[in-house]
Structures are given as C-alpha cells and as structure tokens.
C-alpha cells in the first residue's frame, strides 16, 4: 500500500510546467490562470491530470480561469483533504 502524500505547490508547478508548458517564471501564487492560457477547457484537462497523478478529484464546477494559481492550489488541497 502506498502512503498518500499531500500535494505541494512544487508538485503542482511541475505538472503545469511539464505537461502544460507553462513557463516556471509564470507560476506564481498570484498569477491569473487565463493569463497563462489555462482557460476553462484547459483547466478541466489540468484537473484530469492531477486526478491521475495525485489521486485527487477536483470538482470541475469549482474550476475558474479568472482565479489564480493559488486558488487552484487551494482546490487541490481541499480535494486532497477529502480524498
């Protein structure tokens, strides 16, 4: 049995950089998601990827491209708390 490891900001940053091509310098807590081309469709793909990699289920209705990277991280953590 593997032990669940809570996601860190670093893990989220890695996913955004490696899978979605976001430049590391653009991944800051206050970066607005649509400013790094993560629109509503892209965010669902981000959520699917995080679900596969981290086992967290983020409700798609909570995703908001007007939000920030920090908001997305909070969603991941909330989902992890529910996992």
């Amino acid at each position: 049995m593997s032990t669940f490891v809570p996601p860190t900001f670093e893990i989220l940053s890695q996913v955004l950089e490696e899978k979605f091509g976001v430049l590391r310098d653009d991944i800051k807590p206050d970066t607005v998601l649509e400013d790094i081309e993560l629109d509503s469709l892209a965010l669902i793909e981000v959520a699917l990827t995080l679900q596969k990699q981290l086992g967290v289920v983020i409700p798609t209705e909570d995703l908001n491209s007007s939000g920030t990277v920090s908001d997305l991280f909070d969603l991941v953590n909330t989902a992890a708390g529910n996992a």
């Binding site: 979605f20 091509g21 081309e37 469709l41 892209a42 669902i44 699917l48």
Partner: protein
C-alpha cells in the same frame, strides 16, 4: 489588390511548407523524393494489428517545433498543419503581423479528423467513465479545427474552412482556394491538407477493407505503385500548406512564383463507396474539366503526378485514364512509393511535389517499381530522377466515395 480578379486570373504558389514521412521541410522532402528511398517501416504504435507498417514523419517533436504550451492542446493533425504553415509563410516571405488578416483565407483538406484524440477519449470513456473524457476532444477531433487553429496562429481572419473529399481533399482544398482568389474573396489563401490517421481503429478498418498492403515482412517494399506485385497502400501521416496569391499581386509585392495553379476539375463517380468506377468516367470528367479550366490541350500535358496508390484497382484504372486522355505520353510518377498514402493530405503534398518538379525540371522516381504491371502502359519514371522541362503537369487525387479532383500546374511565366 482585388483589381486583378476574374475567372482567368492566374493564381500562383508563392510558398510551400511540407511535413511528411520524407522529412520536415521542403529541402528534406525534395532530397528524399529524388533518392527514391521508401519511408515505410514497422510502426510500434500499430503493434498487434494485422498490418503494422506505416509512414510516419521522422523526428517530429511538436514540443520543440511549436512550444509545449501550444503542442499539448492540439491533435497531431493540427500540429502537422501548423508546422507546415510556418514554413510556407516563411518561404513566401510573408509576416502575419504585417498583413491585413481579414483578406487572408484558409482552406485545408482532411479526411479523418483528430483520430488519436477521438480514440483516447473513447478509451477513457469505456475504461474509466464519462467524467474522464477530456473536453478538448471536441476541439481536436472535428475536422474544421485544423483551419481554425491555423487562423489563430497565423492571424488569418478571412474565410476559413476544411473540405473533406477523402483522398482528394488536398486537391479540392487548393482548387477551392484558387476560386476564392479569382473571385476576389481573399488576397492570400493558405491552402493544403493535413492527416494523422495512424491510430489503431482506422488502421484496422482500412485493413479489413483490403486496402492496405500486407507486405509486412518487407515494409520498405510495400508501397509499389504501378508495379506488378503491388497489393495495397501504406498509410501515412503528413501535412502540406501552400501560400496562394493572384500572380499579379505576388509579382507586385516581389514574391517568388514557384508554379501556377492553372486549372481545377472535380467530379463524382456515383458508383461505389470505395471502389473506383472501372470505366473511369468520373475521373475522366475531372481531368478533362481541369484541362478545359486551364485552357490547355490534353496532348500538351508533359507530366503527371499520379494518384498511384499502389492498389490493384486504382493504378490500372488511372493508367487507362492517362492513356485515354493525355495523348502526349507524359512522364508519370507516383510519389506514394516514397511517402506512402497520406489520405486526405496526399493531394496537397503531391501538388507541392508537382510544383517542385515544374520549378526544378526534375521528375522524382517512383519507388519500388521493379516490374511494371504488364496491363499498364505508361512512361513511369523509376530508378533515378529524370531531368525534364515540365511546362504543364497534372496532379490527380481520387477519394473513397467516388470523389475526384485534378489540378493543372504550369511553369511560372507560361500564362
């Protein structure tokens, strides 16, 4: 610029972009074609299928060519098209940041859409449920998205469409684009085709149709147009994009005319879902109407880039067509011996190859033509390139569904 319009206005190819199994870029393509070396090989992605050979674009790294933030969003069919468009624009010396994008159209051809995107979504649906289906499939599977993405990335804001006439799609696209320039609808059109069909389901279906070569023990010898031992096509992925402009506009801005798109003809067999009409009535109407549109006499055609799929039925039917209509015994080549059959993209890459043939006066050889089918009486170029001044050439494409399209190309300065 629209004062040079009219149904007789010559239309020029002023830029070419090629991403095919023969290489990425026009130079790599032309060298490989002239070498006559086939590109078919065993395909690990098709392992387990009865036919596991294909022609893939060598070394295609979408992340490196387009940037990771663009590449991940796009099906391969749009990735290939974007890379080809970038080269075509550069070749034409055009900068999208400096043109009136509202006067620039896009007409691309395609047969199957984003096959990998659909297959992935279908697998996710069945294995993991509907909540695991990516929404991006709906902006990657539909065929129209190829031209949509070209508009976004090239700031081409005029009429924008994808035409689907199966394996004739590329020629249909270029012919349609020519009309849009002649009518004055656009001043520049990015025209071509893209296809990324090498997913298991379509490949299994083509095999079940009996369309694919089963020469899996000898992939390099599998695509052999007009050869006595041919037994089907080898599927390929590819994209070609041409920059088309009215010749007078191109000349006025100092563009280089690679060749002229002089005539277009199209028809339907109305005969069968996949088999060509053995009498060839439909393809003959397409060819004759293209020649009439170009106002050239059939006997003056001195070169044919044939559809030449390497199937028993097509190659025999097409050889009879050429003999019946083109009395000047033109040289004939099928570049599919090297590239395989890129389905909806085939016509566009072959128009590009025909333009290069006209420009350079060199006919690339038909690969794997060891023994001409005794039922076929054509002057097929094989073995080595042939130096030949080509003034008027035809490029043929015939699709499943009986959809036929032919373009006439001429050397710059002949009209």
């Amino acid at each position: 610029m629209a004062e040079h319009t009219g149904r007789d206005a010559p239309v020029a190819i002023t830029g070419i972009g090629l991403v095919t199994p023969a290489g990425i870029g026009v130079t790599a393509n032309w060298e490989r074609l002239l070498s006559g070396r086939p590109t078919a090989q065993r395909d690990p992605a098709l392992a387990g299928l009865p036919v596991d050979i294909s022609c893939r674009v060598p070394g295609f790294d979408a992340n490196a060519l387009l940037g990771r933030s663009t590449a991940w969003r796009l099906d391969r069919v749009s990735q290939l098209a974007l890379v080809a468009a970038q080269e075509a624009l550069s070749d034409a010396g055009l900068d999208p940041d400096r043109w009136d994008g509202t006067r620039v159209g896009v007409v691309m051809g395609n047969a199957l859409g984003g096959t990998a995107s659909y297959e992935d979504a279908h697998t996710a649906y069945h294995q993991e449920g509907p909540d695991q289906v990516s929404p991006l499939v709906m902006v990657n599977w539909p065929v129209n998205m190829i031209s949509g993405y070209l508009a976004m990335h090239c700031r081409a804001l005029g009429p924008n469409l994808v035409v689907a006439t199966a394996c004739a799609s590329g020629v249909t696209a270029i012919g349609t684009a020519r009309h849009m320039l002649q009518s004055g609808m656009c001043d520049i059109v990015l025209a071509g085709a893209s296809e990324a069909p090498l997913s298991p389901t379509p490949m299994a279906a083509y095999h079940r149709m009996g369309a694919l070569s089963r020469r899996t023990e000898d992939p390099a010898g599998a695509s052999r147009p007009f050869d006595a031992d041919r037994g089907g096509f080898v599927a390929a992925e590819a994209a070609a994009v041409l920059v088309l402009e009215r010749e007078q506009d191109a000349t006025a801005r100092g563009g280089t005319v690679r060749a002229l798109v002089a005539g277009f003809g199209a028809s339907a067999d109305g005969h069968h879902a996949s088999a060509p009409d053995p009498a060839g009535a439909g393809v003959e109407r397409a060819l004759r109407s293209a020649l009439a549109d170009a106002d050239v006499a059939p006997e003056t055609v001195d070169h044919v880039n044939a559809h030449g799929t390497s199937t028993k039925l097509n190659d025999l039917m097409e050889s009879q067509l050429i003999n019946r209509v083109l009395a000047g015994r033109p040289s004939v080549t099928s570049t599919k011996g090297v590239t395989g059959h890129a389905l909806g993209a085939a016509g566009a890459i072959e128009v590009a190859y025909t333009a290069l043939t006209v420009e350079h006066g060199l006919v690339p050889p038909t690969a794997n033509l060891d023994k001409l089918d005794p039922q076929i009486d054509l002057d097929v170029v094989s073995g080595a390139p042939r130096a030949q001044r080509v003034e008027t050439a035809t490029s043929h494409s015939f699709g499943f569904g009986g959809q036929n399209a032919v373009l006439v190309l001429q050397k710059a300065g002949t009209r």
